[in-house]
């Protein structure tokens, strides 16, 4: 009978065995005690922190704040300083857009929701259609409160990893400043911060179309391990073999043989900080390495200092780092 307790808690018990177990527990105090103990040990140990706890909670917190805001109609921009606390700057703005301009028909209105992750944070969001979205630091995802029947369109400013729920009838479209990505159901990463010269869409699974403007007739279609990047003038197809750049989902920033200036640019984006690089010697070096997002920008620089010497000072007031 004791092995049924194990089976019960590890999800492998049949309905019949469950009945048997509970019937036995009604009369067997020892067995009941065993059940209670295992149950409570499981519950107590669920307080151990786990890897994805925090990004999952950030997504939930954004939802929570959103529902609070709706209720109170209060302005909720809160500025909180410190580790993990910065989370809440992200608040949701809702506005109305009329969908069809025919006056006779009652116009369906779509309300847009917007989630933003603050610097140094990432969030895991779940959309209504079952699509999951990992949002990297300082990224904004804007999406309608209900998806259209014909297409599911979201807007992205920043970096995100999508796992799109398959729906042949309604393609999923990610609009960014430089290009749009159209998919039916697949996994892919998009790097598209507004105002930044870099755009990159990398496919992990399935197939996607990438195009600029509204017309997807001349879209570039890519397969897994292929990517599309912006040359400054047009979109171009390429491929990748190292998947370390996807590690940001696990809270790790990986750089693989990249120039110092590239690291600086990414740090500025991810941590919302200005970095002034006055040490020209560093420009000729390339760096590889992995950093923990939560350790912060200074820790990254301290590690890089060990490879090639340089000094840096941070001005807390202007939120600016100068490298010499």
């Amino acid at each position: 009978m004791h092995e049924l307790i194990t089976k019960y808690f590890y999800g492998e018990i049949t309905a019949k065995e469950k009945k048997q177990l509970f019937a036995a527990m009604e009369t067997d105090a020892e067995l009941k005690k065993e059940f209670f103990s295992v149950q409570n040990i499981r519950a107590l140990t669920s307080w151990m922190p786990a890897e994805e706890d925090e990004p999952r909670a950030v997504g939930k917190l954004l939802e929570f704040k959103h529902s609070r805001k709706k209720e109170s109609h209060a302005i909720l921009y809160r500025h909180i300083v410190g580790y993990a606390a910065a989370v809440c700057i992200a608040v949701v703005s809702t506005w109305l857009v009329t969908n069809r301009p025919e006056p006779a028909v009652e116009q369906p209105v779509i309300a847009y929701e917007e989630f933003s992750t603050p610097s140094g944070q990432r969030a895991l969001l779940k959309l209504h259609d079952g699509t999951t979205v990992w949002l990297n630091a300082r990224s904004t995802l804007r999406y309608p409160n209900h998806f259209d029947k014909k297409e599911r369109r979201v807007e992205l400013d920043g970096e995100a990893f999508f796992e799109v729920k398959r729906n042949e009838e309604a393609p999923f479209i990610v609009s960014t400043e430089k290009a749009n990505i159209k998919v039916l159901g697949t996994k892919f990463n998009v790097f598209a911060y507004k105002g930044d010269e870099e755009f990159n869409a990398s496919l992990v699974e399935g197939s996607v179309k990438v195009y600029s403007g509204d017309n997807d007739a001349e879209a570039l279609q890519i397969a897994p391990h292929e990517c599309v990047f912006w040359t400054g003038e047009k979109l171009e197809k390429s491929y990748y073999d190292n998947t370390d750049f996807l590690l940001w989902k696990e809270g790790i920033y990986a750089f693989d043989d990249v120039p110092f200036s590239e690291i600086i640019r990414k740090l500025e984006l991810y941590y919302d900080i200005t970095i002034i690089q006055k040490n020209r010697k560093l420009d000729q070096y390339r760096f590889s390495g992995k950093f923990r997002q939560r350790d912060g920008v200074e820790s990254v620089l301290q590690t890089l200092q060990k490879v090639y010497y340089f000094s840096f000072v941070k001005d807390e007031e202007t939120n600016c780092i100068t490298i010499r």
Binding site: F64, Y83, C88
Partner: protein
């Protein structure tokens, strides 16, 4: 401490949401209901964030909030016959989870210490099953060992944890008196 919680509502949410959900799911059975339980706890914290006066440790407070909310749920939930018995056992388990405010030690530390004392392999397997929610067969496959070995390790872990966490778990004496 009232001020603290107001300033760090977000921090508390991010740090504890997932753990509280795991805890609630142990008793409440249905994922959606467990989410509601945790949601209620945070609503309470949110509404009282200005006036909260916590005289005990934060973790102890959160722990008791989620425990009590789960108890309320189990006590009031009108359930279909097929779940009645199961939930009633869950309710009994939780009622006997002995944890009071007076505990000086933080529950989190007590649990972490207990788990740290497990032999290494045993701890690894137990955490996989517990935190990552993996089933025996999945753990066995990942570690390339037999499901039986996994089961043995978990049994050892449970046995040792029962000793380490005995202050929170029901005593036999107590149970015999329960009808």
């Amino acid at each position: 401490m009232g001020k603290d919680i107001q300033n760090s509502f977000d921090r508390i949410y991010v740090m504890y949401y997932s753990r509280m959900l795991r805890f609630a799911k142990e008793y409440v059975v249905f994922e959606e209901d467990a989410e509601n339980v945790v949601q209620d706890v945070f609503l309470l914290l949110w509404e009282k964030r200005e006036v909260l006066d916590i005289r005990i440790s934060l973790v102890s407070y959160l722990f008791s909030l989620v425990k009590n909310r789960s108890l309320d749920y189990l006590r009031h939930k009108v359930v279909a016959e097929e779940y009645k018995q199961e939930l009633s056992f869950k309710l009994m388990s939780l009622e006997q989870l002995n944890y009071t405010f007076s505990s000086e030690e933080e529950i989190e530390k007590v649990i972490a210490n207990a788990i740290d004392k497990l032999p290494e392999r045993c701890r690894e397997i137990f955490l996989k099953s517990r935190i990552e929610g993996m089933k025996y067969r999945e753990i066995a496959e990942e570690l390339n060992i037999s499901a039986n070995t996994v089961e043995n390790h978990i049994a050892i872990a449970l046995k040792k944890l029962r000793v380490e966490l005995k202050d929170y778990l029901p005593l036999l004496l107590f149970l015999v008196s329960v009808k």
